[in-house]
């Protein structure tokens, strides 16, 4: 990946992150930190990796993306809006009655291939999709984004086993690990060994770095029948994480905090001041 490309993706991600702060702030939803941390990864997927186009959103051989990682939903919606699946104005009614953008992914939203299902449930849906695509001789790949908390759900491991025994080489699970600390690191290591023992190919990557993401994804070997799992470490940047409620999953942001977060993001894009055109 060239530096120019990276700069372009960084710029898109900055806009996506601003919209995440706005939509979560307006919805009075809880902390957008996990979504902000995931923005680069999703921008990489939607702009560089996934074979999906808003103009052909029912094309049978498109790639699929499913997720039951609810913390990631604002980032997903912001990406889908920026890439053109629906207008950005939909973001401002996220989580409201009758909205296109439901709290959890729903088939009514353009660009969403599967309902989120229950916790840990999206991997099983991805397995079914892979089987159907293989029956149709299509080369689409199925991507499943999981939060690290979902790894504790038993149903997920049923699907880990069945994906491996079916030889679903076109299945790519992505695990978002956004918390640090020694206990977490030990758990992540155990998870990685678990996937490997079940017959998956395991990769690890810094989920915030476009160059590294590109080298991991473009090296995936889809002729190999092993399903793939990418353990992506993500982190909210230092400056934003100083805003307390941003990282608090139980407390909505206040208007002031939202403005502060936006101004921090704005400063980086060089325009300065609080960007308020959404009101």
């Amino acid at each position: 990946m060239k530096d120019v490309k990276r700069d372009e993706l960084e710029a898109i991600s900055l806009e996506v992150r601003k919209d995440i702060v706005r939509m979560v702030g307006i919805a009075r939803a809880n902390g957008p930190a996990p979504s902000l941390a995931l923005a680069n990864l999703l921008v990489y997927l939607y702009w560089e990796w996934l074979n999906v186009r808003p103009a052909e959103r029912k094309k049978p051989d498109r790639d699929r993306f499913v997720t039951s990682h609810w913390d990631a939903v604002p980032a997903l919606y912001a990406c889908l809006a920026h890439i053109g699946f629906f207008g950005r104005e939909e973001l401002w009614s996220y989580r409201r009655l009758g909205a296109t953008l439901q709290g959890c992914p729903d088939l009514r939203t353009p660009g969403i291939d599967a309902p989120s299902g229950a916790r840990g449930g999206s991997l099983g849906i991805a397995v079914g999709m892979c089987l159907a695509l293989r029956l149709d001789n299509l080369e689409s790949r199925v991507h499943c984004l999981l939060g690290e908390d979902e790894l504790r759900e038993g149903v997920l491991w049923e699907s880990v086993l069945s994906a491996a025994s079916s030889g679903l080489g076109r299945l790519v699970a992505i695990i978002d690990v956004n918390r640090g600390g020694p206990a977490r690191d030990a758990e992540a290591a155990a998870v990685s060994r678990g996937f490997e023992a079940f017959g998956w190919s395991v990769f690890e990557v810094n989920g915030g770095d476009f160059m590294l993401l590109d080298s991991v994804f473009s090296a995936l070997d889809f002729d190999d029948a092993k399903p793939k799992v990418i353990i992506a470490r993500t982190k909210v940047d230092q400056e934003l994480s100083s805003i307390e409620s941003l990282c608090d999953s139980a407390k909505p942001m206040s208007d002031d905090e939202m403005d502060h977060a936006l101004s921090l993001l704005e400063r980086r894009s060089g325009s300065g001041g609080v960007f308020n055109d959404w009101t």
Partner: protein, 312 residues
């Protein structure tokens, strides 16, 4: 009424599925297999080792990619309970074309006892919006309903049976529909709503009742949801009383559907012949049917009671 060959609704359903696989390129059968058999999923008859919740999710994924999925799990009577959250969130909420089926009887299962005997399946599935609930009464009925489900969009649950019941319908009978019902015998004394294996018991009961001068009108309520309201109402308007017979808990199954319909439209005395507030236990199918009172004698007993109170 034919009663020539004996065989359960499960065999009729299987026969239909093999025709559907042959004729419909979008159809997929997802079948759970016990033991250490390997997964085979390169044909449209996918066999997978038992993992109930993953099986439901896989069915959803197949359906979301354009397949019409028939889930066949004859050895897993409880998967609708174990996979309930998956059925709810990934099948019923998106309303995809997944047809769930299960078998709730058989010699092995009945000897396994309470943990493996599921008497709440109609109730659980009825609760889910979008979900149709069917309980075919014989081989032919199951065969035709499988084909009907292929023509219809949305999820459904079909309860099948291994029980060796006499055939009720002729082999060329095709008058079965999702949301339909069949009048098996006409009468003006009492309405008996039954489904599955209890239809045969209702028929036996009607012979005894006829000797006592009560002419029973038997409705085969093979479709619990959508519920055939008009068939029930036009019958109870003449008979003025009703007995429901089902191999299910006495709550929220067919009796629940009948009672809701009667309360809203035309109230008549009604009684239920079902499993009352109890789990199962080990036994032979015949012993269990006797123990839990799922018999023609129990139907007769209840008919006599409601008949005495009938609305005139």
């Amino acid at each position: 009424m034919t009663g020539r060959n004996k065989s359960g609704s499960f065999s009729g359903y299987l026969e239909a599925l093999s025709e559907i696989l042959r004729d419909c390129p979008d159809a997929v059968v997802l079948e759970s297999v016990s033991g250490d058999k390997n997964r085979s999923d390169n044909s449209r008859r996918i066999r997978a080792p038992i993992a109930e919740q993953d099986m439901v999710l896989t069915a959803s994924g197949l359906a979301l990619t354009g397949k019409r999925v028939f889930v066949l799990a004859p050895d897993l009577p409880l998967y609708v309970a174990r996979g309930y959250e998956q059925i709810r969130a990934s099948v019923a909420v998106p309303g995809v074309n997944v047809i769930l089926s299960s078998v709730q009887d058989g010699d092995l299962l009945d000897r396994d006892g309470s943990v493996r005997q599921m008497n709440e399946d109609f109730a659980l599935m009825r609760l889910l919006p979008n979900m149709a609930v069917l309980a075919p009464s014989d081989k032919r009925c199951a065969y035709v309903l499988a084909h009907r489900l292929l023509e219809r969009d949305g999820p459904a649950y079909v309860r099948l049976s291994h029980a060796d019941v006499p055939n009720i319908y002729e082999d060329d009978d095709s008058n079965f529909h999702v949301g339909g019902a069949r009048l098996i015998s006409e009468g003006d004394g009492v309405t008996i709503c039954a489904n599955g294996v209890m239809v045969a018991e209702a028929v036996k009961a009607s012979h005894i009742l006829a000797q006592q001068g009560i002419m029973a009108e038997i409705i085969d309520c093979y479709s619990i949801k959508p519920f055939p309201e008009q068939a029930l109402l036009s019958s109870v308007r003449r008979t003025g009383c009703c007995v429901v017979a089902e191999k299910h808990a006495d709550v929220a199954g067919l009796y629940g559907a009948v009672a809701e319909c009667l309360c809203e439209n035309y109230t008549v005395p009604a009684r239920s012949v079902a499993i009352e507030g109890d789990f199962g236990q080990s036994g032979t199918p015949d012993e269990l049917q006797e123990y839990y009172g799922l018999t023609h004698r129990e139907i007769v007993h209840n008919v006599v009671q409601v008949w005495a109170m009938r609305r005139r």
